[in-house]
């Protein structure tokens, strides 16, 4: 009865691992694996190449960032939200649970592409900032004209406008004061609000959002989206396990005079220690193998700074000239890290396992 499942499992898990071990120490370069071009043992050169490649360390570093945001971002936030709901500080528990879990249900490809647009230099964030700039400029214009008692072409007004327009605005004219005066004169008679709009279109340069194009902080949006996406999952997990706690225990602790903090410290946290540890392991193993979200959102770019191990591996196998030994070496390194984590889980389980019901 186990056989069909086991055979399939070997085919999808065990066989690829064996194949990977073989190919990672070979010089296989694609094509037919048997009967095609001859290939053979090539030593551990692929591993040496991986470990001496700065891009490997860059990818590993990004994976570590993802692990950190998962363990120290998603988990605590999920826990706190779960506690708010559990302790009835907020009403409508299923509403909050339902809403905060929504991002998990959407395809990571959709999430990745959606946030790519949102964070793009032409996206809504840029537009919001541009709108703020434009409206503050128009407010300043209004103040100038109000101060002058209405529409006016006096030198004083022109100079004030140029001052507000800033150096980039002034640079548009070779001889600012008379030229702007001519321009404004051509608007005379039009409603004042249209003059404001025209001037702000002229002077307020479309904000090119520096922080959206900076490569050194390109990981931040990615980390934000990961936090955005998965916090709801840990909320559900923690809440489900909090609800398993016998309410009478908490009730009697309260009667004995325990405050919120003490209930948390001596009842809820110990009861959830196993869940917390399991969630952390889950978050780490999930972070390690994540691929599609970043693949869709940044593709590892700009200029490879958001590459993670799986994308680093993928690109070595499918981008340009395929290097299958190298890609398989990376795959095995990732498997090895997972194995270390599993061993860790078992060790942790032994220590904390007894505390969870």
């Amino acid at each position: 009865m186990v056989m069909p499942a086991f055979v399939l499992y070997l085919l999808v898990m065990a066989f690829p691992i064996i194949l990977s071990i073989m190919l990672s120490v070979s010089n296989y370069s694609g094509g037919r694996m048997f009967g095609g071009e001859k290939w053979g043992f090539a030593g551990f050169s692929s591993y040496v190449r991986v470990f001496t490649d700065p891009w490997f360390w860059n990818a590993l570093k990004n994976n570590v960032y993802i692990v950190l945001i998962s363990v120290f971002g998603q988990l605590p936030l999920g826990f706190i939200f779960a506690y708010f709901i559990y302790s009835k500080i907020v009403r409508a528990p299923s509403f909050w649970q339902g809403v905060l879990y929504v991002p998990n249900i959407i395809s990571v490809i959709v999430v990745g592409l959606l946030w790519q647009v949102i964070f793009s230099p032409h996206g809504p964030i840029a537009e919001i900032v541009n709108n703020i700039h434009a409206s503050s400029f128009q407010r300043q214009l209004k103040a100038i004209f109000d101060g002058a008692g209405g529409f006016s072409l006096s030198d004083d007004v022109i100079k004030k406008i140029l001052h507000v327009a800033g150096p980039s605005g002034q640079a548009m004219f070779s001889n600012p004061v008379p030229e702007l005066k001519d321009l404004l004169a051509s608007y005379a008679g039009q409603p004042i609000s249209e003059i404001y709009t025209a001037l702000s279109n002229l002077f307020v340069q479309k904000w090119s959002p520096a922080f959206l194009t900076r490569t050194d902080i390109a990981m931040l949006p990615v980390l934000f989206v990961i936090l955005w996406m998965y916090t709801g999952m840990y909320l559900i997990l923690f809440l489900a396990n909090m609800q398993k706690i016998d309410p009478q225990i908490i009730e009697s602790a309260r009667i004995d005079g325990a405050n919120e903090g003490q209930v948390m410290r001596y009842i809820i946290l110990p009861a959830l220690s196993g869940t917390i540890v399991n969630s952390a392991i889950l978050a780490i193993s999930g972070s390690l193998s994540s691929f599609a979200l970043i693949f869709a959102m940044t593709g590892g770019g700009p200029s490879r700074v958001t590459e993670i191990l799986s994308i680093y591996m993928y690109n070595n196998a499918f981008l340009g000239r395929p290097n299958f030994p190298l890609a398989n070496a990376i795959s095995l390194i990732m498997v090895l890290i997972s194995v270390v984590l599993i061993v860790l889980t078992k060790a942790v389980e032994k220590r904390y396992g007894g505390k969870e019901e």
Binding site: M1, M13, V99, L113, I118, S331
Partner: protein
């Protein structure tokens, strides 16, 4: 006495302020969750030009043109049935094989049981995505590249570890006496499985269905390396097509993203309770 009352009043005021703050934080998070989705759907009804003029306003003249074009360009008419087949086919396979193996692990003792079961449990943390390169080569080696069979086999194989773990834990709780008495009545293992175990395992089967349907419908990493022919692709692959050269054609891109998002949102609205239960159960792995 009056001091005591004052103190409780102060406490009540503090509690109210705290509650307000909690509501604010959670509302902010909920808004951050829902607004981007709303924004996406709203903009899918704008022409690309209108989107470029204003990304935040409501569409002035809502149009369905984006959907018509995105549906055609993304070949969603082809991909939609594929997604349904892959998702439901693999989910059914995972549930059936998991229950079968779970029954064996929980109720039939043999020397091989324990190590095989442990190997499945190890697989829970060994995500298949890590193995996509050797999997790609293996599928090529077996001549299964660009076949639906490869997608189904890989999906089922990848879903088995957690499926078997949950099924085994669940079936363990079914009293052995039920199985024993059926055996005394002369029923074979397979009859017992179909007539007794399967009907009693509907709750765990539901959990597995929820976990796998939501997971597989959105799966990208594996199918991406298994098929390249359009007529074999699933929706996520089709949507990804809108990221490259088409990414500046926002209207169509947003329509495509919405097409990809809405079926699962509807599924979630209908089965929210079961999905939530499944997530809570499915995550107790490790």
């Amino acid at each position: 006495m009056s001091e005591l009352i004052r103190e409780t009043k102060l406490q009540k005021a503090l509690a109210a302020v705290g509650r307000g703050a909690v509501y604010m934080v959670m509302s902010l998070f909920a808004l951050m969750t829902l607004y981007p989705i709303f924004w996406l759907i709203m903009n899918s009804f704008k022409t690309t030009r209108e989107f470029q003029v204003s990304q935040l306003a409501f569409p002035k003249a809502p149009t369905l043109q984006n959907y018509v074009e995105a549906w055609k360009m993304g070949d969603f008419g082809l991909l939609f049935p594929n997604s349904v087949l892959y998702t439901l086919g693999a989910t059914a396979g995972i549930i059936f094989l998991s229950l079968m193996a779970g029954f064996a692990f929980a109720k039939l003792r043999s020397r091989a049981t324990k190590p095989i079961y442990n190997s499945f449990v190890i697989g829970i943390l060994l995500t298949t995505q890590t193995l996509m390169i050797p999997l790609f080569l293996e599928v090529n080696l077996l001549g299964l590249y660009n076949t639906r069979l490869a997608v189904l086999l890989v999906y089922i194989g990848a879903g088995l570890p957690i499926g078997i773990y949950l099924a085994t834990e669940y079936i363990k709780a079914i009293p052995s006496a039920v199985v024993e008495s059926a055996r005394i009545d002369g029923a074979g293992f397979f009859t017992i499985f179909l007539k007794i175990i399967v009907p009693m395992s509907v709750p765990v089967a539901t959990t597995l269905a929820m976990l796998n349907i939501t997971g597989l419908w959105n799966e990208f990493a594996l199918i991406n390396i298994l098929v390249s022919k359009t007529e074999l692709k699933s929706l996520p692959l089709g949507i990804y097509k809108f990221s490259g050269s088409l990414s500046t054609d926002y209207g169509k891109q947003f329509a495509a993203l919405t097409i990809g998002m809405v079926p699962m949102l509807l599924f979630y609205m209908i089965f929210r309770k079961q999905i939530t239960k499944g997530v809570a159960a499915g995550a107790i792995k490790g």
